[in-house]
């Protein structure tokens, strides 16, 4: 059989459809495995220095817990895991046992990582009550009642988490970001390699 341009043209739709189909199969597979999320948003901050953001005041009733400012990232001695959370957020409740477990394990291992919090659009009273009930895992906590700092961080919702490595010149560099709650599996897969210097 002689292949003509006609054959090629007639085969094009089938080839195109096959390409689309293969893409769809991979997307569905990714959806099942959890590594393809059509609702995900890439933050442009990954790999960038910590953004400028307004200084956040601490919780009024917790004098031991300092607030959060851009300068705090300037003098970092250790990596920081910054959590964006709120007391009104359900997935944050589900996330907290893991964060607390992380906090205790860090204390025992002389803390190669600091856990900081940014409390998004929350009432100080309910945030304080929530922290008291959950057991406070944070060593710094900024109250972002207006949500302005969160916009500078490119936050779209709670919970979110940022991993920041010390960088003396630029004052902290964001190396990893996640929208949604953290789990131990995610920690092992994405955060630990950074801490151990093998990302």
């Amino acid at each position: 059989m002689k292949l003509t341009r006609r054959h090629l043209l007639a085969a094009l739709p089938a080839l195109g459809a096959a390409g689309l189909g293969a893409g769809f199969v991979r997307m569905l597979h990714g959806l099942n495995q959890g590594h393809f999320d059509p609702r995900a948003i890439n933050t442009p901050l990954t790999g960038q220095p910590v953004p400028d953001f307004p200084t956040l005041s601490p919780l009024p009733d917790a004098p031991a817990l300092p607030g959060l400012a851009r300068e705090n990232f300037q003098s970092l001695k250790q990596p920081v895991l910054l959590f964006i959370w709120a007391s009104w957020c359900l997935p944050c409740v589900e996330e907290i046992p893991f964060i607390r477990q992380l906090a205790t394990s860090l204390v025992n291992r002389t803390a190669p990582l600091a856990l900081w919090g940014l409390c998004y659009k929350d009432q100080p009273a309910s945030a304080a009550r929530w922290l008291e009930q959950a057991g406070n895992p944070f060593t710094r906590l900024g109250m972002d009642q207006e949500g302005q700092a969160a916009i500078d961080w490119g936050v779209t919702g709670v919970p979110e988490a940022f991993l920041i490595m010390p960088a003396p010149q630029t004052g902290g560099r964001i190396v990893w970001h996640r929208t949604g709650g953290l789990t131990d599996a995610l920690y092992q897969a994405h955060i630990r390699p950074h801490l151990e210097g093998t990302p």
């Binding site: 442009p44 997935p91 302005q148 916009i151 961080w153 709650g181």
Partner: protein, 151 residues
């Protein structure tokens, strides 16, 4: 999966919220500037909802961003600056009309490409010309005749 569920959950609650009519307080007093703000807002995607611009959505984050657009306009920033400010924080995702760069080239060139391919194929039809069509079989002719009579 959890994030998906969460998104679905959000969806349930953002639908009614997205219908909400917001307060006139947030509108700028100057109608021309307000119209400019709306034009900018219509190009920016509400990040927590699906396929809505921040002008159309009443999600709290969209309201905050709307506020920022108006604030920056009043401070004299250009629409381009404001869009850049947003993209710096939220990435290309926030543009409902993607900018033209390597990744989006195919998207933007698609109309021209497909038009050219289609016209190229059609030209062959136009140029092809031959004396006469294949004659009908007697049976076909009978059928055709009866049809033509009916029409």
């Amino acid at each position: 999966m959890r994030r998906l569920l969460l998104a679905f959950f959000l969806l349930l609650f953002t639908i009614p919220a997205s219908l909400a009519v917001d307060t006139p307080d947030e509108m700028l007093p100057d109608p021309a500037l307000e119209q400019k703000a709306q034009q900018i807002g219509q190009q920016l995607r509400c990040l927590v909802c699906q396929n809505e611009s921040i002008e159309e959505s009443s999600a709290p984050l969209a309201r905050d961003l709307r506020h920022i657009v108006r604030q920056q306009l009043q401070q004299g920033h250009s629409p381009k600056d404001i869009e850049a400010w947003m993209v710096q924080r939220y990435g290309e995702f926030i543009r409902l009309r993607p900018a033209f760069y390597a990744v989006t080239a195919l998207l933007w060139l698609m109309p021209v490409l497909s038009l050219m391919v289609a016209l190229g194929l059609a030209r062959r039809l136009w140029r092809r010309s031959a004396p006469s069509p294949a004659p009908l079989t007697p049976e076909e002719r009978r059928t055709l005749d009866s049809l033509l009579k009916k029409d």
